[in-house]
Symmetry: D5
Subunit: 141 residues, 10 copies
């Protein structure tokens, strides 16, 4: 633990956030996401929800302003009536930390492809469905 750094961030996750550069992406995944089979670099944060991780990450990492949609979510599968209410929490956190941002909704398997190219995946224990989120890092000035 250190001063000024949210204690939910592990040493390895902080190292990864620092290593990432402009345009690199990170996925914060829910507990059912196949993180281990897709991640180029995997950080586990078992037992936590996505919102508290998202908030801690955005405390240190800016979103990309060189793209229209620096945030991605996984579209609800056709025929599924589930409403992912957790998205409202995400939007509130993003708005507070980085201002209004447009969101890109990816079809399930397109989301998987994008996750495989991401710099890292953070696997949480979030139990809400469709709760995975992908963030594109911006420039630190």
């Amino acid at each position: 633990m250190l001063k000024k750094i949210p204690s939910i961030l592990s040493p390895e996750l902080l190292k990864i956030l620092m290593e990432m550069g402009h345009g690199d992406e990170i996925v914060i995944s829910d507990g059912n996401f196949p993180a281990a089979s897709m991640a180029q670099r995997l950080v586990r944060l078992d037992g936590h929800g996505v919102p508290e991780v998202l908030e801690a990450v955005l405390e240190l990492m800016p979103l990309d302003v060189y793209t229209d949609e620096p945030v991605g979510l996984m579209e609800v599968v056709k025929g599924d009536t589930y409403v992912p209410e957790i998205w409202d929490t995400y939007k509130a956190i993003i708005k507070e930390k980085e201002g209004d941002k447009k969101i890109c909704y990816e079809e399930r398997f397109a989301f998987y492809e994008r996750a495989k190219k991401a710099y890292a995946v953070v696997a949480t224990g979030e139990t809400s469905l469709y709760a995975n989120i992908i963030l594109k890092k911006g420039v630190v000035v």
Copy 2:
């Protein structure tokens, strides 16, 4: 995540609990414990308190009945007036899961020596002081 297994336990921690045998010890440490410099095997559970980890571990792992004191705590340093109230929580959890157990109080540096010999250390983000606890695994029948 799996059925029947507390979701706070990471895959690696569960593997370690299974590998441990009769008499092996595990430390659940607070956020200020020098876990990385002492652990033979280190599992990080940043952002969690010790009680929820202790509860999950005891759901699966029995304590040793071949010894008088299967549980160890770090004695308050002489001159320090801090009262570690979290110990009451620990005792309640242990009593519920494994029944009444006698506790061994180790002086700070003796606790360190014992931690270095333990099979593993689980590093939490617990902010209470003197919140480290050591458990000796029993026989599964």
Copy 3:
């Protein structure tokens, strides 16, 4: 060994089952399957039959309900008159643990290709022929 966990599951296999997410697949193979040349992650359980491993795995891991056929078997090669009676045992175990499930029958070499993409292969010592089975993990809620 731990409380509540079938003792036939090795620490490494349990870790793998926990790491797997929604849609990841695992193969439980018989003793003649070329497991080592195909597996991305290989767990050996020499000397055991497939049914006892299948039963233990399904005690902890749910099958996928987002697909029609969460279970796969290897079709008998054309011209071979062998009748894999062990399949009835599999069906009974699956029905008891997860309810009725449709099964996908894969031609031998198609089964191989699918096994190569699976998250892991568990190599047993099962001596029945055509006794390999593939399972797709579902969501844990």
Copy 4:
């Protein structure tokens, strides 16, 4: 699997048995033995009992005739009234494979020290208590 080789022996265990030379020792441990913290080389055979492993090992590996006591067992701890009936099974297997052999009974912690020096430990899922056995390899002529 191969012709002539008991299928309970894993590829890695067979490799280890071949690598061992005159005087090297191997432990076949029960499910509660702290195998992972003591073994120089660890082979897991979860879900099996000790007798079937012992029988398979002695099918290929001779015991040492240059020592009086090529077999070791863990003495029952003082005050414990448990009678390890499984020892009779061991003696019958040894007698059948290698003839009458004298047995060395080691006190619990002395057994641990000897296990740490052994070439390998095979961890079974044997649930009988005091069921660990140590074998010293002889000369193959």
Copy 5:
């Protein structure tokens, strides 16, 4: 060394033979074969001829009966008048151990491609030319 196992087989080679499954292939190559640049797994048996290795391997490993040609040899290069008399020795060994088997003759570079896909290559010191042989493992029942 162990009872019942030909002493020319190294621990690592025996492990590889056990790991192989139905349909996996192994090459026993002569001393001039580019084994190190082609093998996925390389076992060296310097100083030995191919026939004694072939005999030892077939003592434990059955050939595949699900294919017409479970054995492959490297065709003599066009224009080369060399007659590989060692092939007669091979055929006698195979006949004795596994009965009559049809042989597939591969053009030199086709043989190389097949060797690259084999599970393992055993590099001997055989000085006869065109003395490489490839074997497809069968089912152990």
Copy 6:
């Protein structure tokens, strides 16, 4: 790079500072210190002076208050008339960040022994002599 984190700290150094616990020590060494032969974990910051690294480290890491002397310096070797004026800079930085602290002056070879036990050594390019400094981490609350 990240918001709120001094850009002179490398990802690996930040990870190390986070991993350290109460009582762990870190050395910030000058360019002539035999860092590679002594460090348990080595972080290179070639081309930088010690003061800017010291300042950045103390922005995030508190000093230990459970000891009288949380800071160590290397004593000038007897007979050497060099006056390490850089120490005044260190004292000013420490005072500003953590308040007045007592300093322990270690003889050259005693300093080496202590450095070998430290959790990490940061090797700078500082050209002043006797410019090595050792810091003991405190509790984060």
Copy 7:
């Protein structure tokens, strides 16, 4: 540190410069460049600007004279009005060390592709934008 070698060059960077041959390329990147996700070999020089690294590198490494454009820069993205004044500094350093050289301006993503093929990337903490530079090594005679 050594005589004659600029102290800003780390041991690993010097090793890499020596290993490079005629036609190999090296990127000196600014602090926002996604260096870790693109580099085949990554050297971090956090906290430094690009100009001092460029100057030190060219003190030891000649540019290629077998190509017209041995230096590459990242073109300003269309629509962006930023003027990278740091380029003038680069040109002055190159002129002083190696004489007038033509520069190749690469579109942002083309620059990324070229960086992925480079022998190494040196990640600095340079805060100017569009400050990445790629150098092609020449012949040492």
Copy 8:
């Protein structure tokens, strides 16, 4: 060092020469060749010229007689008037050791592609230009 073996050959280089089989190639490169970025296996012999290495290699390794051109050289780049006189030395060494051999002249980038497929590259400190040579190993009888 050993009897009968030229002392310029390092232990690793000799091992590589032994591992190579019929048709495998080795490059002996000059000091400016981008050896580290191209070699599958790299052996450094800094400070030596190519001729003494070539002579030592051919003392132990025969050239291939199953191909017309067992030796390759890098063609002088068009427009370059450099005359690689060192080639005469190569031809004399080859003639003395292996008799007259036809040489294949490869265009610069074609030579690079061939070097990438070679079993190994030996990087010398040869300062002559166009001094790289590639050898195809023959059969040892």
Copy 9:
């Protein structure tokens, strides 16, 4: 395989012989020697006898003339009436290659201790008893 080098020597063994310097020792062990548990570096030559390996090694490696006893053998255990006739073969080979040498006879466990300190152990399949031999390397001039 290479010209001038006995084909029984593996690439790795030759590399080891070259790496050894004045005073380093190598053990050529029989098939029952506990080579894997004692060797700092282990080379297997399964299926060969000691004499052919000894002869090949002495073709390249000189014995030490700075010591009285550059050769060691394992003394017959007291009470054992076995006569190791293979020693005569050893003496004849040594005499032919290196002239008359005095031999040091080591008690069984003293031999083990010396073997543990040797640079390498070559494990053969020699079936004679007491057939282990240790050689001290001399100076190559």
Copy 10:
């Protein structure tokens, strides 16, 4: 290769020289020195003599002035009448590069012990006897 750096120094050796700090030692050994069994870090420069390596090293690395004897040589063994004339060459090189230095003569086995503690050993092919030399690095200012 790089400008200003003697081409006999390999990339790895230069890295090691840079990593070394005040008081670290390096051995330049002759061709018969048991370098591989003693070195903590081993750099091979086969085929070279010690003098050219010594000269190149001292071009970049200063000797220690905080000790009386920054240079060590191996004393001639008692009874040996060999006169190591190469020492005069060493003294001339040292005098030219670093001025007059006192030399410490170490008995053979004491030299070995010191070599084991050195930061690195450079193994040359020097054929003179007693030609090993040890250097203690000084401060770079």
